[in-house]
Assembly symmetry: C2
Homo-oligomer: 583 residues x 2
């Protein structure tokens, strides 16, 4: 430690609000270069190398072949799949010396596709699983929480190539299990949840979520049947409306009733007997052009609009709430809106609205509502779809039991891409009958730095980090105190000679400083040698996570350490279990 | 091999002119994504991992601590050192989502400096040696020779931090030896040559050159005393002029004598009795501004101008030959030029010109020369410096013996940067007396992909690659032929169980195809098992580099392989020797 570059800090720099971020800064693992850009110092680099090895082992175990693809991509390739146009400023773009447009990798489907169309000819070359561990750039306007949401990060991304759906399904399920193995080996609890495919496209996606209050995602969980989903796509059983004969709509004055709550109170009806309008502007890509469309979405008054579902329903690249002048321009009235009489709007109606008769809805005139509006009689929709947001207590779509919500950080994701990329890029193969077919692709990612940060977020106490043995930078933290230097040197040589990873605090510092740093850095086993411990008969051995220490005779230290390390590793191995696949 | 993603190619794609590039493409190691951008397929990835491990071992052996710094840098940092302005379009630049300027790493002195100024306070924290193995982007207008000159590449770059010159010198020499160890462990012959510091700055630099006709650099080598240098900075003993009393200059008509050769013939004098003018335009950075200056350089007629020396003499960021109108504008005449009577030019005179009396020089009038011009009498210079180009047969600056030239590829470089970065970035420390001093830095780089390509360029024959054991993707290439499948499977399991790396060709292909692929891929040991070899009593074992094979009984194969591998490794280890440091 007297030679180690990184120093511990008494206090984290200002602006580090998340625990793992503060601790990784204080313990000298990382330093910030600029917003969302981090350098990994020697301790972090060691932990990252361990995580990367776990990733390699689990990828190799399901047939992965490691490759390495560039970070800089020619824009042409991203234009071929349309993502050059579909993705906004999150994608890094620049021009090279010869004025050719280039993209910075935010993911590698395009480059894999280019490799595949050049290499794969026959079904005999399939299936394949390729992966690499490589830099990505995603320009987040609000990088936060340290490594959890960085702009530049290292990712393990794998890509499966198959001749048929069964093959893709097998590779998808292989990753599902491999990902649980990876997180379990890092001692990180995770849930797999169904998720939005987003800019990746494809037919199915799961996110692996580390449940934590600092998470930016909300998850719906059914403890009864195991249904779990990201709120962005979570379904739920909507309370059905009472069947009634449709009545004739009638305009009434509703002064000041510009919210659903006020309207229901004014009319003396439940919120479920009202219709709620939401106005948005969607950016939709038509060919290589982006066009803006005004969107009017309607959900029942007892529900909220889910903007992700809405964006997916209209295939929007981006979607934002409409401004008042845009709402008025369409002939609608904020606070008193509905599709009735609105012009030039893309109308999207939640399926529950369609099945709920006689709802009170806006009259598109300030201070007025219509009572007894009915879908099909008073207005039509361009799209009828589920666009409602699931929340705490909503009924599980599978079993009907009440669901709960929790927050989580996405630490991995898996996508069944199908032909989303192979078709535009022309990745085809000849099947056994000699017919040309598109390769079926899957894409699977884990952010390495984010995983490290989540492990730090999960494993710490008031004194610092408490690393699991599989991710700790070193296995043993050896402290020499006054009079223990010679024995410590010997132990250091003996332990490292046996292949034990030892961080040796040989500094000329007070015991308190050394103990505090050991706690802050968080290696699993601490050994302390000083004149006092030697007088008492040996060396003090303490697990980072426990309070009690044990006195071990010097000649038994190596054996004792090896026994402890084996036990710590067994504990981790026992976490690795088979997990049933949940659609 | 039936499952391996990469396929061998009968022919290299068009445009691959260099042997290593053709072979790495044909053998399925790499694929081009775009000009200067390459994907590394599984075979290359394995070889790269081995090279990276060698790099790590040698860096760790001299006290290196591995870290990882970002690829995307804030422009501010590059502005602080001035390189944002000094470096041209080779530096990748873009704006982030918030319109902040960003640079793509072409090297990491700035980021190291930023780390150092935040972490290093005291001399007790020095010396340090940090390194990482990370992506770089250098936008070459003419990427060529495959991995040898790529635009995106992985580099091992290390940075030393010292309190004094002795410390910097020690780290520089440590790298000098470590680099020879690295190249020797990769079985790549190299020379260390003194070189230009270029855009890196600093006081001393060596390049490690792999001598090969495909190299873009020319080296001067003295076999007598060991002096070696890149031609860009090579010095030489210039033949002295006969001492003579200066005579009065005189203008004479020299019709058509617009070259030195014609002039010398016309006047009946040796070329060494003439002065040669070279006109250039230099871009010079003054503060944050770039200005263009017209430069008139003069060497003796028996020498050529060295543009690198000239650029260094005038501290130019860029230097290009002047156009005719620029020459005329300065009052000079192309073909008949000299400093006499020229206005608004930065005049640079080679030291040999200063010491050579009575030279014939241009009169700056078409068709006329001056005879008997003398420095100090007929013209002055802004700068007198060595700006002459060394060539084949020139006298060694140390011992005077004739030097030879050879071409080479730069596979590594080491720079004594001194305070070039620590001063502008404010990297200071308090010395033992409590005085604030700038940290002394060194910077040391090896391109990983280029090193792989040079090893391929050095080790091949007409049938393909012939990898040294330390870089080969696999140690053993196992071929099963008809009737040998069961034995091959057993051997595969036995050998891999013993930790031997085996590429197993289990494909249903003709023997010729399998042998050709084995030769093309070039793993060091080939094992062939078929009904025929088994009838003859065993398995055919052949070294890739040898013609003869040996028949080994099945039960002795593992032992025999291990013996062969040990011998191959010993051969490499014997290459690793101490190399005396040559300034």
């Amino acid at each position: 430690m007297s030679q180690m570059f990184s120093q511990t800090l008494r206090q984290a720099p200002a602006g580090a609000e998340v625990k793992s971020h503060r601790l990784l800064l204080r313990a000298g693992f990382i330093r910030q270069l600029a917003a969302g850009l981090f350098s990994y110092l020697p301790l972090a680099k060691r932990s990252l190398a361990k995580i990367e090895n776990i990733l390699r082992e689990e990828m190799n175990a399901i047939g992965g072949q490691e490759i390495s693809m560039p970070v800089v991509h020619p824009a042409e390739l991203w234009k071929e799949t349309g993502r050059w146009y579909e993705i906004g400023s999150e994608l890094g773009r620049f021009k090279d010396k010869n004025e050719r447009e280039m993209a910075l990798a935010m993911t590698h489907e395009e480059v894999i596709g280019d490799l595949v169309r050049k290499e794969i000819r026959s079904h005999r070359q399939l299936p394949q699983l390729l992966y690499h561990i490589q830099i990505k750039w995603r320009d987040d306007p609000r990088p936060r929480a340290g490594l959890i949401r960085a702009r530049e990060f290292t990712m393990k991304d794998s890509y499966s190539l198959d001749a048929d759906e069964e093959g893709l399904d097998r590779q998808y399920r292989n990753h599902y299990q491999a990902y649980f193995n990876i997180f379990n080996r890092c001692a990180l609890p995770t849930l797999a949840v169904r998720s939005d495919v987003g800019m990746m496209g494809g037919s199915m996606a799961h996110e692996f979520m580390y449940p934590t209050p600092i998470g930016e995602d909300t998850l719906l969980i059914c403890d009864a049947c195991g249904y779990t989903a990201n709120r962005q796509i979570a379904e739920f059983r909507k309370p059905p409306a009472e069947p009634e004969e449709p009545r004739k709509a009638e305009k009434i004055e509703t002064p000041g009733a510009d919210t659903i709550e006020k309207l229901a109170r004014f009319l003396g009806i439940p919120e479920s007997k009202t219709a709620k309008a939401f106005f948005a502007v969607a950016t939709i890509t038509e060919g290589t052009e982006d066009v803006e469309r005004f969107v009017l979405a309607v959900v029942r008054g007892d529900m909220e609009v889910n903007e992700t579902k809405l964006a997916n329903a209209v295939r929007a690249k981006e979607l934002r709430p409409a401004r008042e002048e845009e709402i008025r321009h369409a002939g609608a009235s904020p606070g008193y809106g509905s599709p009735v009489g609105v012009k030039d709007a893309l109308v999207v109606v939640d399926d529950a609205v369609k099945d709920s008769p006689n709802l009170a809805a806006g009259a598109n005139e300030d201070g007025y509502h219509l009572i007894n509006t009915n879908y099909g009689l008073d207005y039509e929709a361009d799209i009828v779809s589920d666009i409602a947001l699931a929340g705490e207590g909503d009924a599980c779509p599978r079993c009907g039991e009440a669901m709960r919500t929790t927050r989580g950080v996405e630490v991995g994701n898996i996508f069944k891409l199908g032909t989303r990329y192979s078709e535009p890029l022309g990745c085809t193969f000849l099947d056994a009958e000699g017919d040309s077919k598109p390769v079926l692709m899957g894409s699977y990612g884990i952010g390495v730095g984010r995983l490290l940060a989540c492990v730090a977020e999960e494993h710490n106490d008031e004194n610092g980090l408490v690393w699991p043995i599989t991710v700790a930078p070193y296995e043993v933290h050896l402290i020499s105190l006054g009079g223990g230097e010679a024995v410590a040197e010997d132990l250091y040589r003996e332990l490292t000679g046996r292949g034990v990873e030892v961080l040796y605090d040989d500094r000329d510092e007070r015991p308190g400083v050394k103990f505090n740093d050991a706690d802050l850095i968080g290696n699993p086993i601490r050994l302390t040698v000083g004149a006092r411990s030697l007088e008492r008969g040996g060396v003090e051995l303490k697990l980072r996570r426990e309070q009690e220490s044990e006195l071990v005779p010097v000649e038994e230290v190596a054996q004792s350490i090896e026994r402890r390390l084996a036990a710590l590793r067994t504990e981790i191995e026992e976490r690795v279990v088979e997990v049933p696949f949940e659609e």
